[in-house]
Amino acid sequence: MSGYRQGDSGLILNEPLLWEKGKKGRCGFSLPECDVDEVAFDAEFAGDGPNFPDLSEVEVVRHYTRLSTWNFGVDTGMYPLGSCTMKYNPKVNERQASLPGFSDVHPLLPEVRNQGALKLMFDLEHFLKELTGMDAVTLQPAAGAHGELAGILMINAYHKKRGEIRTKILVPDTAHGTNPASGALCGYMPVAVPVNEDGIMRVEDVRALMDEETAGIMVTNPNTLGLFEKNIREICEVVHGKGGLVYGDGANLNAIMGYVKMADIGVDVMHFNLHKTFATPHGGGGPGSGPVAVTRTLTPFLPVPRVEKLKDHYHLVTDYPDSIGRMMTFYGHFGIMVRAYSYILSMGGEGLKEASAHAVLNANYIKERLKETFHLAYDHTCMHECVFSDAKQEPYGVSTLDMAKRLIDYGFHPPTIYFPLVVPGALMIEPTETETKEDIDNFIDTLKAIAVEAKESPELLKNAPTRSKVRRLDETSAARKPCLSG
């Protein structure tokens, strides 16, 4: 195996739950003397206050520091989680987001005091327009799924405005679960479009399913198999021909920056995941940010408020009668926008294209080097990710889950597993552009070694992981007898 062995045993410290520590009367917060008189709260509405443990600052700091050591992040090591674009999160972006002028500002101050933030948002919208060729952008949605909801609401408003009632939406069966769920939230019935033997949609299938009761189609391109939907232009024509609109799930934009503009291929509305493509940290679950771009057709329906520039001043404008309305209390995840803006300026246009180029190079390299070892679902030039399955390991009684868990022992975060659903036992690898060739080689060699283990000593995989804080967890009993608080 090349390089060094990544996984080994360190000192893993135990740490109890917060309320298993502490003593009444401690406090980890600098509580001041009160400089005004005490006033009792109205007895009718007074309560007892929350029953939290009382802890000193040191106890809190040690608690979370210890917890953090049980976690694996991009800063810990390679994190090839397909569809999630776990690229390096630059530290300079954290600096920008924590500037008091960005982090310590109230959203409802008079506009003259918000010009810097509004300019940043205006310019970020412009960058996203340029990357996709779309006509307008809202930064308001909180995450990818929230962007999908905004986009489908706009499609819904568009049809309504034209006096049409459409009840269905086409969603390919490679789509992420959020796609049909977002469609359903707007009252649409999702209709599945199958993939062909090459892992992409056929024009004929879309033509057969598309009708005047269908609002449009939700397409992820490149799709979740890492393949470019080659028939996209014709598919968009078919959908448009029946009066439908095309939604683009931009989760995989990292593959095509500078190579493809979504507006050019027929997409009417799409979302971005700033927490994927634009390198903002995912935070162990979020917050993300899911801006949505639209062509002229849908501009009137964008959420409000919109950021506009008049002469040299920036304004938040709400006066759009056809708008779908507000998606969040304020303007979206501004702190995430700051990081993404900072990332774009660090990379520049050329740097973003190069990022896509290297992301695609890395995925194809992994695909080539592993395709003898693992069953490759679709053997075509891939984009930013490649999807294998456990078909070759199954005869040894070893599953994708076992291989993923064994990767943990070797010090890698496993790829996405069992998604997309069209590939049974899927192992979806997205290396991103920020990994070195050495780490990628090490990852490949490790997976090859695991394939040998699968044959020779499958129990190693069945027992994995053994070096983590805990071993495999009983998820069935967690769901059967849920204990969600202590």
């Binding site: 739950l17 509405f45 501004f334 180029a357 608080s485």
Partner: protein
């Protein structure tokens, strides 16, 4: 580029393995007709120090609460954040992880969120809390959708004293799904009109914010009684979490679902986001909850551990039948809130709420003494409505130029309250700040 590690030799070697000559050749997998011909018209890459200077200049045009005396809350509150909290939060094992799909190497996040869920249930007096939602407005919209699913009724009642922006988001979410949203008027005491709810039929739920948009504490128990008699669900919302240090929690008042904003819990205001959506319910509604839940279990050795659970509600399993489309939530903000609540402790939380209350009451009294009319006499927490003298706009601008923001003008949200302002005080404003405000507004 410092984030792109490949050397020309690396690229050459990799291309040889793949069997193509150039990286661009890989993009021939994209039909020619789909490929862009023009280079991106975006700025050139900036050096780190040029970028810092550029960002500093943008940030310098803003009005941070460290420099201004901001007497506005209305959904975003200026509370002191202990230095230890952002420090701990910046540990990149937390911040650079994805959703904990692999629990064995995500126990830090999972235990942290489990503790968060627990503290939220204790704060609100509820049985179950989710691992977070985007913000208060989206959490409240989802709470109403839960009620519609549970009761199978297509109409909901929402107090006109729920945050105006929350109500707008509710309309965005519920309108296209064909759910009717009826607003409940408010009375002269600055409280939601209970009798109006009593007169409504066939409603899935009533949502009442407490403390409401005017800062007035609502009698949630009475609303719960009325709506339960109509076989609807009682939903409470809030924007100021610190209130629960003093105010009777919703769970003890018969509330079924609580949805609110957790930004007050140590999360920077950040021009409105990211904040934190809190969503909690009774046990009976657990399986209707949207989004992630963390639960305890044991590992193969019988050791305690934590996992994402009850996933059969979620989009990655149920697709269009899921309880919501949410995937990424605001996990790091939830951890942020947990760190903050742990730092305060129960004793500290109560004391902090009391200090906030003392200060707001001080300002209220001083303004009254100076002849300013307090619009609603009811009990409030941190925020209250005042009527400033005619022509106050000029004073407002003068104060702004002196770095004082004298509240939020209410006319935009409630036309009948033109000339009225919503004021907010937290522990971060001193007696001197308040005395100065009183002096200036009555000058």
């Amino acid at each position: 580029m410092r984030y792109l590690p490949h050397t020309p030799e690396d690229i050459k070697e990799m291309l040889e393995v793949i069997g193509v000559k150039t990286v661009d050749a890989l993009f021939e997998a994209i039909p020619e007709s789909c490929r862009s011909k023009e280079p991106l018209n975006l700025p050139r890459a900036m050096s780190e120090w040029d970028l810092n200077a550029h960002m500093d200049a943008l940030a310098a045009t803003m009005a941070p609460s460290s420099e201004y005396r901001v007497f506005i809350g209305a959904g975003s509150y200026n509370h002191y954040i202990p230095s230890s909290v952002p420090y701990l939060l910046s540990r990149s094992e937390f911040s650079t992880a994805y959703t904990p799909y692999q629990p064995e190497i995500s126990q830090g996040t999972l235990q942290g969120i489990y503790e968060f869920q627990t503290m939220v249930t204790r704060l609100l007096g509820m049985d179950v809390a989710t691992a977070s939602h985007y913000d208060g407005a989206t959490a409240l919209s989802e709470a109403l959708l839960m009620a519609v699913r549970k009761t199978k009724k297509k109409r909901v009642a929402v107090s006109s004293l729920c945050h105006p922006f929350h109500r707008e988001v509710i309309r965005t979410y519920l309108g296209p799904a064909g759910i009717e949203v009826v607003e409940v008027p408010y009375g002269e005491d600055g409280r939601t009109d209970l009798a109006a709810v009593g007169a409504m039929d066939d409603v899935a739920a009533v949502a009442v914010q407490s403390p409401n948009f005017f800062g007035v504490v609502e009698d949630l128990a009475s609303f719960a009684q009325v709506i339960h008699a109509k076989k609807g669900l009682m939903i409470a919302s809030f924007t100021e979490s610190i209130a629960w240090g003093l105010v009777k929690n919703p769970g003890s008042q018969g509330v079924d679902i609580v949805a609110g904003d957790g930004q007050s819990l140590g999360i920077p205001k950040a021009f409105g986001g990211p904040g934190l959506g809190l969503l909690a319910s009774s046990k009976a509604l657990m399986r209707q909850l949207p989004g992630r839940l963390v639960g305890t279990t044991t590992d193969l050795d019988g050791k305690r551990g934590f996992v994402l659970t009850l996933a059969a509600r979620e989009q990655h399993i149920r697709r269009e039948k899921a309880t919501s489309n949410i995937c990424s939530n605001n996990g790091l903000c939830a951890l942020n809130a947990a760190m903050y609540m742990a730092s305060l402790g129960g004793t500290g939380f109560k004391r902090l709420a009391q200090i906030n209350h003392n200060k707001a009451e001080y300002l209220k009294r001083k303004l009254m003494d100076a002849g300013v009319k307090i619009t609603f006499a009811s009990a409030t927490f941190n925020e209250f409505v005042v009527k400033f003298p005619e022509g106050f706009e000029k004073t407002y601008d003068r104060l702004l130029s002196r770095m004082i923001v004298a509240g939020l003008p209410l006319g935009r949200f409630y036309p009948e309250l033109a000339g009225h302002y919503l004021l907010c005080v937290t522990e971060t404003l001193s007696k001197i700040d308040m005395d100065q405000l009183v002096k200036e507004v009555t000058a």
